[in-house]
Each structure stands twice: as C-alpha cells, then as structure tokens.
C-alpha cells in the first residue's frame, strides 16, 4: 500500500520523490518489492496458476514427490502442495495486512488522542502501550486461542491489538511536536476540532514513519500467523496456511523422506517475511535520511 502511494507521487523534487529516489538506492528493498508483487499476484491468481483444487483428496497419489502433474508433490492425503501453497498465500497476506491495518488504526487513534489531550489521558495511554509492548503476542494468543478456541478472526484482532503501541508512540510524538506549531494553533483558533486536526495535520505528518512501522508490522504478523498455525492454533485445516502446511512435518520420517512437504511452505514464509522486512528497512532509510547515513 505504501509503495503505491510512493509510485503515484508526481515527479520532481517533492519530498515523496526524494524519498522514492532514496528507496531505489536500496537494492535489497527494490528486489523485495518485486518479489512481494510476485507473491501477491500468485495469491490472487492462485486458481488458474495451480491447476488443482487445493482440497481435492487423492489417496492413490499421496506423498508423491515433485512431478510434471504435481510440481511440488502431494501431501499425506494426495492434495497438491503447489495449489495449497498458493491459496495459503492469500491467508498469510490477508492476515498480515489486516492485522497491520488494525494496529495502525488503533495506534493512530490512541496516539493522537494521547498527544492532543495530554495530561492523565496521555499517561494512561502510554502506560497501556508499555503493557501491550511487554507481552509477547505469541504467548498471549496461545492462551486466548486455548480458551476461546482457535479462529482466524481472533488471531487477526489479537495480533493487531498487540502491535498498536509502536504506531501509537510515533503518532503521539508527531502530535506533540505539531501541537506547538503555529499553523496548528491557527487552525485551532479558527475552530478546527480534533478530528479535523487529525485528518489535515496529524495523519499527513505521521504517514511516513507510520508507513515504516506498518510494513514491519505486516512482516511480523505473517510470521506470527505461520507460527500459530504451525502450532495448530491459527488457520485450521482443511484451509491451508504456510504455517499449518508445516504441522505435518513434525515427524522425523516426513522431514527425512518428504522434504517437498515442508521445504516449500517454509521457504515461502521465510522469503516473504524477509522481503517485507527489507522493504520496511528501505522505507525507513527513504523517509528518514538521517538513519541511512
């Protein structure tokens, strides 16, 4: 989402164009953008690309290695690994983006409220951020999934809720520094309410740093989803996810003799998370030239 706003910027010496130029100097980030585009396209066109139904069971051709018909082989019930991998991409990317959106929305709201109101509200929101930051979301979601039962919706909300503090702190910082600026004072004097200030001043100013943490949040969420699904607490079969495709690989026989079952989903999640992290890294250098030096 961030890359599209960058790409849509007019050419010239605008800050966005300058940031885009700096981003292009980060080779790993550029390659990563291309790779992510590829993953997104593969997930969107999962059906025509795969050629198989991801849930079609074919016990006669179970556990066969890669072949012309099944490019990445089949799993223990004869389902096509490639098509499960492609459909799993939809879930992984969806969970990643949805949780990051929750984190950004909650963080922006709470951060700007804290910054605008100050006083005890600010103190309360920041203590809350500390508490959320200090708990490892994985362990919390294990507990919540254990009590409420695993569900993708619970997982998305929980991941998002545990990622808001990073964004909240940034937006609060931006708000605090904006609050004292003359154009904001003028805006307030002419009757601008908090919602107007948020829309016209805070969000545009906070967008560059927030785009960085949002990107990193997507990466973290994809990794978390995979881990939870691997543990059996996230996406439930028959739906496939990169994490739950690896759940079957917890036996030594599978690891030894059917590496296609665990290598492809593992590589998919590792490369995707790595690529999103590289993009976040590149974005950080692009929007904050000081950190690049």
């Amino acid at each position: 989402m961030t890359t599209t706003t960058l790409a849509a910027a007019p050419a010239g010496r605008s800050p966005t164009a300058a940031a885009l130029r700096r981003f292009r100097k980060h080779p790993a980030a550029v390659v990563s953008v291309l790779f992510i585009a590829l993953v997104v396209l593969a997930a969107i066109f999962a059906r025509p690309l795969s050629g198989h139904d991801p849930n079609a069971i074919d016990l006669l051709s179970a556990r066969t290695g890669p072949s012309g018909d099944h490019l990445l082989g089949t799993d223990s019930t004869g389902r096509d690994v490639l098509s499960r991998l492609l459909f799993a991409g939809r879930i992984s990317l969806g969970v990643g983006i949805a949780s990051a959106v929750i984190a950004v929305v909650v963080g922006t709201l709470l951060g700007s409220i804290a910054g605008l109101l100050g006083g005890w509200v600010d103190g309360l929101v920041m203590r809350l951020a500390d508490v959320f930051m200090s708990f490892p979301s994985l362990v919390v979601i294990v507990v919540v999934a254990g009590i409420l039962g695993p569900s993708v919706l619970t997982m998305v909300i929980a991941i998002g809720l545990f990622q808001w503090p990073v964004c909240g702190r940034i937006v609060r910082g931006v708000t605090l520094s904006l609050r004292e600026q003359e154009f904001v004072l003028a805006s307030r004097a002419t009757g601008a309410g908090p919602l107007w200030l948020m829309r016209k001043h805070i969000i545009p100013a906070a967008l560059p740093p927030v785009s960085v943490v949002a990107t990193l949040a997507v990466a973290q969420a994809i990794a978390l989803e995979a881990t939870l699904s691997f543990l059996g607490l996230g996406v439930q079969p028959p739906a496939s996810s990169w994490g739950n495709m690896l759940t079957d690989a917890q036996s030594l026989t599978v690891i030894r003799s059917e590496p296609w079952l665990w290598l492809s989903p593992g590589i998919a999640v590792a490369l995707t998370v790595l690529a999103v992290n590289f993009v976040g890294d590149g974005l950080r250098d692009a929007v904050d030239p000081r950190s690049a030096s």
Binding site: P136, V142, G146, I147, A223, L233, Q250, G266, L274
Partner: protein
C-alpha cells in the same frame, strides 16, 4: 530512585490485577458448564440437573461473579490454581516441574544470542557501511524473519538426520543420563533459540556502540594513545552496555515466546510444551495457570529492566 521504583512496582501490581480480571472473564466466557462437562454424555439424564445444581452450590458457582472472582484470586495467590481436568494433578505442581527445563533452555539460548550479537554488533559499529556491517544486518534481519520452527526443521534435517550429530527430541536419554547427555540434547534447541533472538540484540549493540564511539571521551582515549582494542573494549563497550542491559531484560518475554515454539518441535518438557498440549486438549485450568505465570514473568522482567536501568546508570539515580 526509590520513588521511581515504587511507582513502577505499583503500576505492575495494578496491571497484574487487571490481567487476572481479563483471564477470569475469558474463562467465564468458555462454552459449557464445568460440572456437566465432567459427566460423560451417555450418563446425563433427568436427575443430572439436581446433581449439577447441588455441585454448583458446593463449588460456589451459583454466587455472583465478583464473589467467584475473589475466591479464585485468593486461592491463586495462595498457590492453589486448581487441578488439571485431564489427570487431576494440581496445576501448580504441573507448572512447577516444567519451569526448570524452560529456564535452562532460555538461559543457554540467551547466552548464545549474546555471544552472536556482541561480537557482530561491535564489529558492525566499528566498520560502519563495510561489507561486514551489511552482512551483520542481513544476519539480524534473517534471524528476525525466518520463523523459528522452519529453522528448527532445517537444523533437524541436517544435524539429526544427515550427520546424526545431535538428538532432536527430549531433554535427556533415560538409558544414558548424565551432564554430557543433557548438553547433547540442549545443543540444537538452544542454538536455534539463540539465533532467533540475536537479531534485535545485535541491532541494539550496534547502535549503542555507534553512539559511544562518537562520544568525546573516546576521542580523548584515542588521543592519549590507548590502543584501538582498549578504547573499544574498556571504554566504549562498557558504556554501551547500559542501554543494552535493559533491552535484554525487556526482551526476556520474547525469548520465552521463542522457547514455547522450540519446546514444541523438540519435545522439550517445558512450560511452553505443557501450554500447547493443554490448549489442544482443552485443559482450561492449566491454561489459566500458565497465563498467570506468564503475566508474573513478564511483569518481573519489566521490573528487572527498571531496576537495571537505575542501578547501572548513575545519571538516572541522581534524578
């Protein structure tokens, strides 16, 4: 310093109570009657309702939520977390025997992550923008990005199945116990946990070292003719430890999260494995006990970070 710590402590106690309320509310939302659940379905009949009502009264489940919460909380604070729904053993006992292996795994894992992070972080800070610096960044991004369970599967494939150097399951071999055997079982899980957590540490060491290396006293030390090695290790490194120590304490919960996953893959008999298996078997009382224990561990690490922060840095103490 005293006032600061007292304030942090009271915030932590307050947070703990809020967490107990949240956990209690969550458990209360679970479907099914706790008594009816323990009666086999084929034995439920018209007489069961009276029996269930009587049992509910005995256990205080017919009282108000507030009373129930208070009852549960006072019991929990006295170490009575109830009994496992699966095997009837006290939850405190179950958790107690799992803490040791988890601490062992986390301790050695932490040590390994520091052994990776410090040399790489210091070298990267000294030679900024060199290939070594970029290499260190890639290693740290990789350690953050590649899911621990996938690393574990690769490592098992290479070191357990191909080379057969290390076992991939359990904490010891009952037929051949001993210190060497324990270390042998510890190598793979601890290495993976250490690698997975080295990334964030390395970044902090690097940026903290960069700050110190740019400081005036480093220039003075260089000007006096101290060797580069001495300047880095005796001067800059010691000061760079101040922020890094707090980061280590605040990262303990993340280390625990990594241990939960690794225990599952390596059948390591720790708290994480107990938690995941209890979740899969709907053993609610164990899950709740685990949740409270985690809350305590996290809040204690926060407190430890606060204490370290004030003890290590005299500038904070003066405030």
């Amino acid at each position: 310093m005293g006032a600061f710590l007292v304030r942090r402590l009271s915030i932590n106690v307050l947070v703990f109570f809020l967490i107990t309320i949240a956990v209690f509310a969550l458990v209360h939302k679970t479907p099914g009657d706790p008594i009816a659940m323990q009666i086999p379905a084929d034995q439920l009949n018209s007489g069961s309702a009276d029996f269930i009502a009587q049992k509910r009264a005995e256990l205080g489940l017919d009282r108000s939520l507030v009373v129930q919460y208070w009852h549960w909380l006072t019991n929990a604070l006295h170490g009575d977390l109830g009994y496992s729904l699966l095997n009837g053993r006290p939850v405190t006992e179950l958790l107690g025997e799992r803490i040791g292996p988890t601490i062992e795994l986390m301790g050695v894992g932490l040590l390994i992550s520091l052994l990776i992070a410090f040399p790489l972080g210091i070298l990267a800070a000294r030679r900024r923008n060199s290939w070594l610096d970029y290499g260190a960044t890639v290693v740290s991004l990789g350690s953050v990005s590649i899911p621990v369970f996938f690393v574990a599967l690769i490592v098992i494939y290479v070191f357990t199945l191909k080379f057969q150097w290390f076992p991939s399951s359990g904490i010891s071999d009952p037929t051949n116990p001993g210190l060497l055997d324990s270390l042998h079982h510890l190598v793979l899980p601890a290495l993976i946990l250490g690698f997975g957590n080295s990334g964030p540490f390395m970044r902090y060491v690097r940026s903290s070292m960069i700050t110190e290396l740019d400081a005036d006293y480093v220039r003075t030390a260089n000007a006096k003719g101290a060797s580069p090695r001495r300047v880095v290790l005796r001067h800059a490194f010691r000061n760079s430890l101040i922020p890094v120590l707090t980061v280590i304490a605040t990262n303990l919960p993340q280390l625990l999260a990594g241990a939960v996953v690794i225990e599952q893959v390596f059948a390591w008999p720790g708290m994480g494995q107990l938690a995941v298996s209890s979740v899969n078997q709907h053993d609610y009382s164990v899950i709740v006990g685990f949740a409270l224990l985690i809350a305590i561990i996290v809040l204690l690490s926060n407190l430890l970070a606060d204490v370290l922060y004030t003890v290590v840095d005299p500038r904070v103490r003066l405030r």
